[in-house]
Point group: C2
Chain length 217, copies 2
DNA sequence: GTGTGGTGAGTGAGTGCTCACTCGTTATCC
DNA sequence: GGATAACGAGTGAGCACTCACTCACCACAC
Protein backbone atom coordinates (compact mmCIF):
# COMPACT_ATOMS: atom_id res chain seq x y z
CA UNK A 1 0.00 0.00 0.00
CA UNK A 2 1.27 3.46 -0.85
CA UNK A 3 1.16 6.19 1.79
CA UNK A 4 -0.81 9.28 0.93
CA UNK A 5 -1.94 9.88 4.49
CA UNK A 6 -0.10 10.93 7.66
CA UNK A 7 0.96 9.18 10.85
CA UNK A 8 -1.96 10.67 12.74
CA UNK A 9 -4.40 9.03 10.33
CA UNK A 10 -2.80 5.65 10.78
CA UNK A 11 -3.03 6.01 14.57
CA UNK A 12 -6.81 6.43 14.36
CA UNK A 13 -9.06 3.55 15.38
CA UNK A 14 -9.83 1.41 12.36
CA UNK A 15 -13.57 2.09 12.31
CA UNK A 16 -12.94 5.84 12.24
CA UNK A 17 -10.42 5.42 9.41
CA UNK A 18 -12.94 3.38 7.48
CA UNK A 19 -15.75 5.86 8.08
CA UNK A 20 -13.63 8.67 6.65
CA UNK A 21 -12.44 6.68 3.66
CA UNK A 22 -15.87 5.26 2.88
CA UNK A 23 -17.38 8.75 2.96
CA UNK A 24 -14.63 10.09 0.73
CA UNK A 25 -15.01 7.22 -1.74
CA UNK A 26 -18.72 7.92 -2.11
CA UNK A 27 -18.22 11.67 -2.57
CA UNK A 28 -15.45 11.28 -5.15
CA UNK A 29 -17.32 8.52 -6.95
CA UNK A 30 -20.46 10.65 -7.22
CA UNK A 31 -18.90 14.02 -8.05
CA UNK A 32 -15.39 13.37 -9.36
CA UNK A 33 -12.28 15.06 -8.00
CA UNK A 34 -13.18 18.67 -8.76
CA UNK A 35 -16.84 18.25 -7.91
CA UNK A 36 -16.25 16.70 -4.48
CA UNK A 37 -16.24 18.98 -1.44
CA UNK A 38 -13.82 18.36 1.42
CA UNK A 39 -15.96 20.27 3.93
CA UNK A 40 -18.91 18.06 3.05
CA UNK A 41 -16.82 14.89 3.35
CA UNK A 42 -15.59 15.97 6.79
CA UNK A 43 -19.11 16.74 7.97
CA UNK A 44 -20.56 13.46 6.68
CA UNK A 45 -17.68 11.52 8.22
CA UNK A 46 -18.40 13.23 11.54
CA UNK A 47 -15.05 14.99 11.92
CA UNK A 48 -13.89 18.58 11.57
CA UNK A 49 -12.22 20.07 8.52
CA UNK A 50 -9.20 20.74 10.69
CA UNK A 51 -8.80 17.07 11.50
CA UNK A 52 -9.24 16.21 7.85
CA UNK A 53 -6.14 18.28 7.13
CA UNK A 54 -4.29 16.69 10.03
CA UNK A 55 -4.92 13.29 8.47
CA UNK A 56 -4.29 14.21 4.83
CA UNK A 57 -1.93 16.74 3.32
CA UNK A 58 -4.52 18.04 0.90
CA UNK A 59 -7.53 17.15 -1.22
CA UNK A 60 -5.47 15.40 -3.84
CA UNK A 61 -3.82 13.10 -1.31
CA UNK A 62 -7.18 12.07 0.06
CA UNK A 63 -8.29 11.38 -3.49
CA UNK A 64 -5.22 9.27 -4.25
CA UNK A 65 -5.83 7.33 -1.08
CA UNK A 66 -9.43 6.51 -2.01
CA UNK A 67 -8.50 5.53 -5.56
CA UNK A 68 -5.74 3.34 -4.22
CA UNK A 69 -8.15 1.64 -1.81
CA UNK A 70 -10.65 1.08 -4.57
CA UNK A 71 -8.13 -0.33 -7.02
CA UNK A 72 -6.67 -2.49 -4.30
CA UNK A 73 -10.04 -3.98 -3.49
CA UNK A 74 -10.79 -4.70 -7.13
CA UNK A 75 -7.43 -6.29 -7.89
CA UNK A 76 -7.42 -8.30 -4.65
CA UNK A 77 -10.75 -9.86 -5.49
CA UNK A 78 -9.39 -10.78 -8.90
CA UNK A 79 -6.12 -12.16 -7.61
CA UNK A 80 -7.92 -14.33 -5.09
CA UNK A 81 -9.80 -16.02 -7.88
CA UNK A 82 -6.76 -16.43 -10.05
CA UNK A 83 -4.73 -17.91 -7.19
CA UNK A 84 -7.26 -20.73 -6.93
CA UNK A 85 -5.45 -22.12 -9.95
CA UNK A 86 -8.50 -23.62 -11.58
CA UNK A 87 -8.60 -24.31 -15.29
CA UNK A 88 -8.95 -21.30 -17.56
CA UNK A 89 -12.64 -21.49 -18.37
CA UNK A 90 -13.64 -22.00 -14.75
CA UNK A 91 -11.51 -19.02 -13.83
CA UNK A 92 -13.17 -16.85 -16.44
CA UNK A 93 -16.61 -17.91 -15.29
CA UNK A 94 -15.70 -17.24 -11.67
CA UNK A 95 -14.48 -13.78 -12.61
CA UNK A 96 -17.69 -12.97 -14.45
CA UNK A 97 -19.74 -14.03 -11.46
CA UNK A 98 -17.46 -12.09 -9.13
CA UNK A 99 -18.04 -8.99 -11.26
CA UNK A 100 -21.78 -9.43 -10.97
CA UNK A 101 -21.55 -9.83 -7.20
CA UNK A 102 -18.87 -7.25 -6.54
CA UNK A 103 -20.57 -4.59 -8.66
CA UNK A 104 -23.65 -4.71 -6.48
CA UNK A 105 -21.69 -4.83 -3.23
CA UNK A 106 -19.23 -2.07 -4.08
CA UNK A 107 -20.92 0.33 -6.43
CA UNK A 108 -18.79 3.27 -5.40
CA UNK A 109 -15.44 1.55 -5.79
CA UNK A 110 -16.27 0.82 -9.39
CA UNK A 111 -17.69 4.27 -10.05
CA UNK A 112 -14.54 5.76 -8.61
CA UNK A 113 -12.47 3.52 -10.83
CA UNK A 114 -14.36 4.83 -13.84
CA UNK A 115 -13.83 8.44 -12.67
CA UNK A 116 -10.14 7.73 -12.38
CA UNK A 117 -9.83 6.61 -15.99
CA UNK A 118 -10.54 10.19 -17.07
CA UNK A 119 -7.51 11.46 -15.13
CA UNK A 120 -4.85 13.18 -17.24
CA UNK A 121 -2.04 13.10 -14.67
CA UNK A 122 0.49 10.78 -16.33
CA UNK A 123 2.52 9.80 -13.28
CA UNK A 124 -0.55 9.03 -11.19
CA UNK A 125 -2.16 7.03 -13.99
CA UNK A 126 0.94 4.93 -14.47
CA UNK A 127 1.09 3.98 -10.81
CA UNK A 128 -2.55 2.97 -10.76
CA UNK A 129 -2.37 0.98 -13.98
CA UNK A 130 0.48 -1.15 -12.73
CA UNK A 131 -1.29 -1.68 -9.41
CA UNK A 132 -4.46 -2.70 -11.19
CA UNK A 133 -3.38 -4.58 -14.26
CA UNK A 134 0.24 -5.43 -13.51
CA UNK A 135 -0.53 -8.95 -12.38
CA UNK A 136 -3.61 -9.84 -14.39
CA UNK A 137 -2.16 -8.88 -17.76
CA UNK A 138 0.63 -11.44 -17.41
CA UNK A 139 -1.64 -14.06 -15.88
CA UNK A 140 -4.30 -13.98 -18.56
CA UNK A 141 -1.66 -14.19 -21.27
CA UNK A 142 0.07 -17.09 -19.51
CA UNK A 143 -3.25 -18.87 -19.15
CA UNK A 144 -3.94 -18.55 -22.85
CA UNK A 145 -0.43 -19.63 -23.84
CA UNK A 146 -0.90 -22.66 -21.61
CA UNK A 147 -4.19 -23.47 -23.30
CA UNK A 148 -2.44 -23.30 -26.65
CA UNK A 149 0.02 -25.94 -25.51
CA UNK A 150 -2.83 -28.25 -24.50
CA UNK A 151 -4.46 -27.52 -27.84
CA UNK A 152 -7.47 -26.04 -26.12
CA UNK A 153 -6.84 -22.76 -27.86
CA UNK A 154 -5.98 -21.89 -31.41
CA UNK A 155 -2.24 -21.90 -32.03
CA UNK A 156 -2.17 -18.89 -34.32
CA UNK A 157 -3.37 -16.29 -31.83
CA UNK A 158 -1.29 -13.87 -29.81
CA UNK A 159 -1.93 -14.51 -26.09
CA UNK A 160 -1.15 -10.93 -25.10
CA UNK A 161 -3.72 -9.47 -27.45
CA UNK A 162 -6.34 -12.01 -26.48
CA UNK A 163 -5.69 -11.30 -22.82
CA UNK A 164 -6.29 -7.63 -23.57
CA UNK A 165 -9.58 -8.26 -25.36
CA UNK A 166 -10.72 -10.51 -22.56
CA UNK A 167 -9.97 -7.92 -19.91
CA UNK A 168 -11.79 -5.31 -21.99
CA UNK A 169 -14.89 -7.45 -21.76
CA UNK A 170 -14.47 -7.69 -18.00
CA UNK A 171 -13.97 -3.98 -17.44
CA UNK A 172 -16.96 -2.93 -19.47
CA UNK A 173 -19.09 -5.59 -17.83
CA UNK A 174 -18.18 -4.14 -14.47
CA UNK A 175 -19.11 -0.63 -15.52
CA UNK A 176 -22.30 -1.91 -17.13
CA UNK A 177 -23.46 -3.14 -13.73
CA UNK A 178 -22.61 0.09 -11.88
CA UNK A 179 -22.20 3.32 -13.83
CA UNK A 180 -25.32 5.16 -14.99
CA UNK A 181 -24.24 5.58 -18.58
CA UNK A 182 -23.09 2.02 -19.12
CA UNK A 183 -26.13 0.65 -17.32
CA UNK A 184 -28.43 2.51 -19.69
CA UNK A 185 -26.39 1.28 -22.60
CA UNK A 186 -26.63 -2.34 -21.48
CA UNK A 187 -30.40 -2.01 -21.17
CA UNK A 188 -30.51 -0.56 -24.67
CA UNK A 189 -28.60 -3.52 -26.07
CA UNK A 190 -30.33 -6.44 -24.40
CA UNK A 191 -33.36 -5.04 -22.57
CA UNK A 192 -34.38 -4.10 -19.02
CA UNK A 193 -34.33 -7.69 -17.79
CA UNK A 194 -30.56 -8.19 -17.86
CA UNK A 195 -30.18 -7.19 -14.27
CA UNK A 196 -32.66 -9.87 -13.22
CA UNK A 197 -31.03 -12.72 -15.10
CA UNK A 198 -27.36 -13.02 -14.23
CA UNK A 199 -27.21 -16.59 -15.49
CA UNK A 200 -28.13 -15.72 -19.05
CA UNK A 201 -25.35 -13.16 -19.25
CA UNK A 202 -22.80 -15.60 -17.81
CA UNK A 203 -23.88 -18.25 -20.28
CA UNK A 204 -23.68 -15.93 -23.28
CA UNK A 205 -20.40 -14.34 -22.28
CA UNK A 206 -18.89 -17.78 -21.73
CA UNK A 207 -19.95 -18.81 -25.22
CA UNK A 208 -18.44 -15.65 -26.63
CA UNK A 209 -15.13 -16.18 -24.86
CA UNK A 210 -14.98 -19.89 -25.57
CA UNK A 211 -15.56 -19.28 -29.23
CA UNK A 212 -12.99 -16.51 -29.35
CA UNK A 213 -10.34 -18.86 -28.00
CA UNK A 214 -11.60 -21.67 -30.19
CA UNK A 215 -12.09 -24.02 -27.29
CA UNK A 216 -14.13 -27.12 -27.81
CA UNK A 217 -17.53 -27.03 -26.10
CA UNK B 1 -29.42 17.96 -33.28
CA UNK B 2 -30.70 19.16 -29.93
CA UNK B 3 -30.54 22.87 -29.09
CA UNK B 4 -28.61 23.84 -26.01
CA UNK B 5 -27.51 27.17 -27.46
CA UNK B 6 -29.37 30.40 -28.26
CA UNK B 7 -30.48 32.12 -31.45
CA UNK B 8 -27.57 34.51 -31.27
CA UNK B 9 -25.13 31.59 -31.35
CA UNK B 10 -26.77 30.10 -34.41
CA UNK B 11 -26.56 33.44 -36.22
CA UNK B 12 -22.79 33.52 -35.79
CA UNK B 13 -20.54 32.82 -38.80
CA UNK B 14 -19.76 29.11 -38.93
CA UNK B 15 -16.03 29.47 -38.35
CA UNK B 16 -16.63 31.44 -35.18
CA UNK B 17 -19.13 28.83 -33.96
CA UNK B 18 -16.61 26.12 -34.63
CA UNK B 19 -13.80 27.98 -32.91
CA UNK B 20 -15.89 28.32 -29.76
CA UNK B 21 -17.07 24.72 -29.77
CA UNK B 22 -13.65 23.30 -30.56
CA UNK B 23 -12.10 25.27 -27.70
CA UNK B 24 -14.84 24.14 -25.32
CA UNK B 25 -14.48 20.50 -26.37
CA UNK B 26 -10.76 20.57 -25.62
CA UNK B 27 -11.23 22.25 -22.23
CA UNK B 28 -13.99 19.90 -21.11
CA UNK B 29 -12.14 16.85 -22.43
CA UNK B 30 -8.98 17.81 -20.54
CA UNK B 31 -10.50 18.98 -17.27
CA UNK B 32 -13.99 17.54 -17.05
CA UNK B 33 -17.11 19.60 -16.37
CA UNK B 34 -16.19 20.95 -12.95
CA UNK B 35 -12.54 21.44 -13.79
CA UNK B 36 -13.16 23.44 -16.96
CA UNK B 37 -13.15 27.24 -16.72
CA UNK B 38 -15.59 29.28 -18.80
CA UNK B 39 -13.46 32.41 -18.59
CA UNK B 40 -10.52 30.48 -20.00
CA UNK B 41 -12.63 28.98 -22.78
CA UNK B 42 -13.87 32.45 -23.75
CA UNK B 43 -10.35 33.88 -23.79
CA UNK B 44 -8.93 30.99 -25.85
CA UNK B 45 -11.83 31.22 -28.28
CA UNK B 46 -11.12 34.92 -28.67
CA UNK B 47 -14.46 36.22 -27.39
CA UNK B 48 -15.57 37.92 -24.20
CA UNK B 49 -17.19 36.15 -21.27
CA UNK B 50 -20.23 38.34 -21.85
CA UNK B 51 -20.66 36.97 -25.36
CA UNK B 52 -20.21 33.45 -24.08
CA UNK B 53 -23.30 34.00 -21.92
CA UNK B 54 -25.17 35.57 -24.83
CA UNK B 55 -24.57 32.35 -26.79
CA UNK B 56 -25.16 29.83 -24.01
CA UNK B 57 -27.50 29.96 -21.04
CA UNK B 58 -24.87 28.65 -18.66
CA UNK B 59 -21.84 26.39 -18.29
CA UNK B 60 -23.91 23.24 -18.32
CA UNK B 61 -25.59 24.11 -21.61
CA UNK B 62 -22.25 24.67 -23.25
CA UNK B 63 -21.13 21.30 -21.90
CA UNK B 64 -24.23 19.53 -23.21
CA UNK B 65 -23.64 21.11 -26.60
CA UNK B 66 -20.06 19.88 -26.78
CA UNK B 67 -20.96 16.36 -25.64
CA UNK B 68 -23.75 16.27 -28.19
CA UNK B 69 -21.36 17.32 -30.95
CA UNK B 70 -18.86 14.70 -29.91
CA UNK B 71 -21.39 11.89 -29.72
CA UNK B 72 -22.86 12.96 -33.02
CA UNK B 73 -19.49 12.81 -34.74
CA UNK B 74 -18.76 9.37 -33.33
CA UNK B 75 -22.11 7.88 -34.22
CA UNK B 76 -22.14 9.46 -37.68
CA UNK B 77 -18.81 7.88 -38.53
CA UNK B 78 -20.17 4.53 -37.40
CA UNK B 79 -23.44 4.84 -39.25
CA UNK B 80 -21.66 5.74 -42.44
CA UNK B 81 -19.76 2.48 -42.32
CA UNK B 82 -22.82 0.44 -41.47
CA UNK B 83 -24.83 2.00 -44.26
CA UNK B 84 -22.31 0.65 -46.78
CA UNK B 85 -24.12 -2.66 -46.26
CA UNK B 86 -21.09 -4.84 -46.61
CA UNK B 87 -20.98 -8.31 -45.13
CA UNK B 88 -20.62 -8.54 -41.39
CA UNK B 89 -16.93 -9.31 -41.09
CA UNK B 90 -15.93 -6.59 -43.52
CA UNK B 91 -18.06 -4.17 -41.55
CA UNK B 92 -16.39 -5.13 -38.29
CA UNK B 93 -12.96 -4.76 -39.83
CA UNK B 94 -13.87 -1.40 -41.29
CA UNK B 95 -15.09 -0.25 -37.87
CA UNK B 96 -11.88 -1.34 -36.17
CA UNK B 97 -9.82 0.56 -38.73
CA UNK B 98 -12.09 3.59 -38.41
CA UNK B 99 -11.52 3.54 -34.64
CA UNK B 100 -7.77 3.53 -35.18
CA UNK B 101 -8.00 6.44 -37.58
CA UNK B 102 -10.68 8.43 -35.80
CA UNK B 103 -8.98 8.13 -32.41
CA UNK B 104 -5.90 9.87 -33.70
CA UNK B 105 -7.83 12.52 -35.61
CA UNK B 106 -10.29 13.36 -32.86
CA UNK B 107 -8.59 12.74 -29.54
CA UNK B 108 -10.71 15.24 -27.69
CA UNK B 109 -14.07 13.97 -28.88
CA UNK B 110 -13.24 10.55 -27.51
CA UNK B 111 -11.80 11.89 -24.27
CA UNK B 112 -14.95 13.94 -23.81
CA UNK B 113 -17.04 10.86 -24.46
CA UNK B 114 -15.15 9.07 -21.70
CA UNK B 115 -15.66 12.04 -19.37
CA UNK B 116 -19.35 11.89 -20.10
CA UNK B 117 -19.69 8.26 -19.04
CA UNK B 118 -18.97 9.34 -15.47
CA UNK B 119 -21.98 11.67 -15.47
CA UNK B 120 -24.63 10.88 -12.87
CA UNK B 121 -27.44 12.97 -14.34
CA UNK B 122 -29.98 10.30 -15.36
CA UNK B 123 -32.00 12.32 -17.86
CA UNK B 124 -28.94 13.63 -19.65
CA UNK B 125 -27.34 10.19 -19.76
CA UNK B 126 -30.45 8.62 -21.24
CA UNK B 127 -30.60 11.15 -24.05
CA UNK B 128 -26.96 10.62 -24.93
CA UNK B 129 -27.16 6.83 -24.82
CA UNK B 130 -30.01 6.70 -27.28
CA UNK B 131 -28.24 9.18 -29.55
CA UNK B 132 -25.08 7.11 -29.44
CA UNK B 133 -26.18 3.52 -29.28
CA UNK B 134 -29.80 3.67 -30.41
CA UNK B 135 -29.05 2.65 -33.95
CA UNK B 136 -25.97 0.49 -33.60
CA UNK B 137 -27.40 -1.80 -30.92
CA UNK B 138 -30.17 -2.93 -33.23
CA UNK B 139 -27.93 -3.11 -36.27
CA UNK B 140 -25.27 -5.29 -34.73
CA UNK B 141 -27.90 -7.67 -33.39
CA UNK B 142 -29.64 -7.81 -36.78
CA UNK B 143 -26.31 -8.49 -38.48
CA UNK B 144 -25.61 -11.40 -36.16
CA UNK B 145 -29.11 -12.82 -36.51
CA UNK B 146 -28.65 -12.65 -40.27
CA UNK B 147 -25.34 -14.50 -40.00
CA UNK B 148 -27.10 -17.19 -38.01
CA UNK B 149 -29.55 -17.71 -40.87
CA UNK B 150 -26.69 -18.14 -43.33
CA UNK B 151 -25.05 -20.51 -40.89
CA UNK B 152 -22.05 -18.26 -40.61
CA UNK B 153 -22.69 -17.91 -36.89
CA UNK B 154 -23.56 -20.39 -34.19
CA UNK B 155 -27.29 -20.90 -33.88
CA UNK B 156 -27.37 -21.14 -30.09
CA UNK B 157 -26.16 -17.62 -29.31
CA UNK B 158 -28.26 -14.60 -28.41
CA UNK B 159 -27.61 -11.87 -31.01
CA UNK B 160 -28.40 -9.07 -28.57
CA UNK B 161 -25.83 -10.21 -26.06
CA UNK B 162 -23.21 -10.80 -28.69
CA UNK B 163 -23.87 -7.37 -30.14
CA UNK B 164 -23.27 -5.95 -26.68
CA UNK B 165 -19.97 -7.78 -26.21
CA UNK B 166 -18.83 -6.72 -29.64
CA UNK B 167 -19.58 -3.07 -28.95
CA UNK B 168 -17.76 -3.36 -25.62
CA UNK B 169 -14.66 -4.35 -27.54
CA UNK B 170 -15.09 -1.37 -29.82
CA UNK B 171 -15.58 1.16 -27.05
CA UNK B 172 -12.57 0.06 -25.05
CA UNK B 173 -10.46 -0.06 -28.17
CA UNK B 174 -11.36 3.54 -28.84
CA UNK B 175 -10.43 4.62 -25.32
CA UNK B 176 -7.25 2.56 -25.51
CA UNK B 177 -6.08 4.72 -28.41
CA UNK B 178 -6.90 8.04 -26.74
CA UNK B 179 -7.32 8.21 -22.97
CA UNK B 180 -4.18 8.25 -20.81
CA UNK B 181 -5.27 5.50 -18.47
CA UNK B 182 -6.44 3.08 -21.13
CA UNK B 183 -3.40 3.82 -23.27
CA UNK B 184 -1.08 2.87 -20.42
CA UNK B 185 -3.14 -0.24 -19.82
CA UNK B 186 -2.92 -1.31 -23.46
CA UNK B 187 0.86 -0.87 -23.35
CA UNK B 188 0.97 -2.98 -20.21
CA UNK B 189 -0.95 -5.78 -21.90
CA UNK B 190 0.77 -6.01 -25.26
CA UNK B 191 3.81 -3.72 -25.11
CA UNK B 192 4.83 -0.24 -26.30
CA UNK B 193 4.80 -1.20 -29.96
CA UNK B 194 1.04 -1.54 -30.34
CA UNK B 195 0.64 2.00 -31.49
CA UNK B 196 3.11 1.41 -34.29
CA UNK B 197 1.48 -1.74 -35.63
CA UNK B 198 -2.19 -1.20 -36.36
CA UNK B 199 -2.35 -4.22 -38.63
CA UNK B 200 -1.43 -6.68 -35.93
CA UNK B 201 -4.20 -5.45 -33.68
CA UNK B 202 -6.74 -5.59 -36.50
CA UNK B 203 -5.67 -9.12 -37.33
CA UNK B 204 -5.87 -10.34 -33.74
CA UNK B 205 -9.15 -8.62 -32.99
CA UNK B 206 -10.67 -10.06 -36.14
CA UNK B 207 -9.61 -13.54 -35.07
CA UNK B 208 -11.12 -12.96 -31.66
CA UNK B 209 -14.44 -11.78 -33.08
CA UNK B 210 -14.58 -14.45 -35.79
CA UNK B 211 -13.99 -17.14 -33.22
CA UNK B 212 -16.57 -15.70 -30.87
CA UNK B 213 -19.21 -15.88 -33.56
CA UNK B 214 -17.93 -19.27 -34.68
CA UNK B 215 -17.41 -18.19 -38.23
CA UNK B 216 -15.33 -20.33 -40.52
CA UNK B 217 -11.94 -18.82 -41.38
C1' DG C 1 -23.76 63.76 -48.77
C1' DT C 2 -24.27 64.85 -43.97
C1' DG C 3 -26.37 64.75 -39.55
C1' DT C 4 -29.37 62.19 -36.15
C1' DG C 5 -31.27 58.49 -33.72
C1' DG C 6 -32.17 53.83 -32.81
C1' DT C 7 -30.38 49.00 -32.37
C1' DG C 8 -28.12 45.17 -30.51
C1' DA C 9 -23.88 42.46 -30.71
C1' DG C 10 -19.94 42.58 -28.04
C1' DT C 11 -17.30 43.82 -23.93
C1' DG C 12 -14.79 43.01 -19.45
C1' DA C 13 -14.59 44.89 -14.86
C1' DG C 14 -17.23 43.78 -11.17
C1' DT C 15 -20.01 40.76 -7.86
C1' DG C 16 -21.06 37.41 -4.82
C1' DC C 17 -20.57 32.84 -3.71
C1' DT C 18 -18.06 28.54 -3.08
C1' DC C 19 -14.52 25.93 -1.18
C1' DA C 20 -9.59 24.43 -0.14
C1' DC C 21 -6.99 25.28 3.44
C1' DT C 22 -5.29 27.75 8.13
C1' DC C 23 -4.89 28.79 12.84
C1' DG C 24 -6.24 30.31 17.37
C1' DT C 25 -9.05 28.14 20.70
C1' DT C 26 -10.93 24.36 23.26
C1' DA C 27 -11.32 19.53 24.84
C1' DT C 28 -9.09 15.25 26.21
C1' DC C 29 -5.82 12.30 28.02
C1' DC C 30 -2.13 10.83 31.05
C1' DG D 1 -0.55 20.88 33.94
C1' DG D 2 1.49 19.87 29.86
C1' DA D 3 1.07 17.66 25.62
C1' DT D 4 -1.61 16.25 22.02
C1' DA D 5 -5.80 15.93 19.33
C1' DA D 6 -10.01 17.95 17.63
C1' DC D 7 -12.53 21.79 16.41
C1' DG D 8 -14.76 25.17 13.20
C1' DA D 9 -14.88 30.10 12.27
C1' DG D 10 -12.24 32.57 9.28
C1' DT D 11 -9.54 33.68 4.95
C1' DG D 12 -8.68 34.56 0.37
C1' DA D 13 -8.30 32.82 -4.17
C1' DG D 14 -10.95 31.33 -7.92
C1' DC D 15 -14.72 31.28 -10.83
C1' DA D 16 -19.71 31.35 -12.75
C1' DC D 17 -22.32 34.76 -14.08
C1' DT D 18 -24.07 39.99 -14.62
C1' DC D 19 -24.68 44.52 -16.29
C1' DA D 20 -23.61 49.16 -17.54
C1' DC D 21 -21.51 50.63 -21.30
C1' DT D 22 -19.37 51.00 -26.23
C1' DC D 23 -19.62 51.38 -30.99
C1' DA D 24 -20.32 49.70 -35.61
C1' DC D 25 -24.11 49.73 -38.50
C1' DC D 26 -28.24 51.02 -40.70
C1' DA D 27 -32.44 53.95 -41.73
C1' DC D 28 -34.28 58.02 -42.55
C1' DA D 29 -34.65 63.29 -42.97
C1' DC D 30 -33.04 67.28 -44.98
Amino acid sequence: MLFFNTDSFRKLPTDKQEKILQTAIIEFAEHGFDGANINVIAKKAGISVGSMYKYFKNKHDLYMMTVSISVNKLSTTLNEIISLKMDFLSTVEKIVRAIQFHSRENIYLTKLYNQMTTENNAEFVQRIVSQMEGVTAQLYAAFIAEAQKNEDARPNINPKYFAFFLDNLFILLQFSYTCEYYKERLKMFVGEDVFADDELLVEQLMKFVKGALYLKD
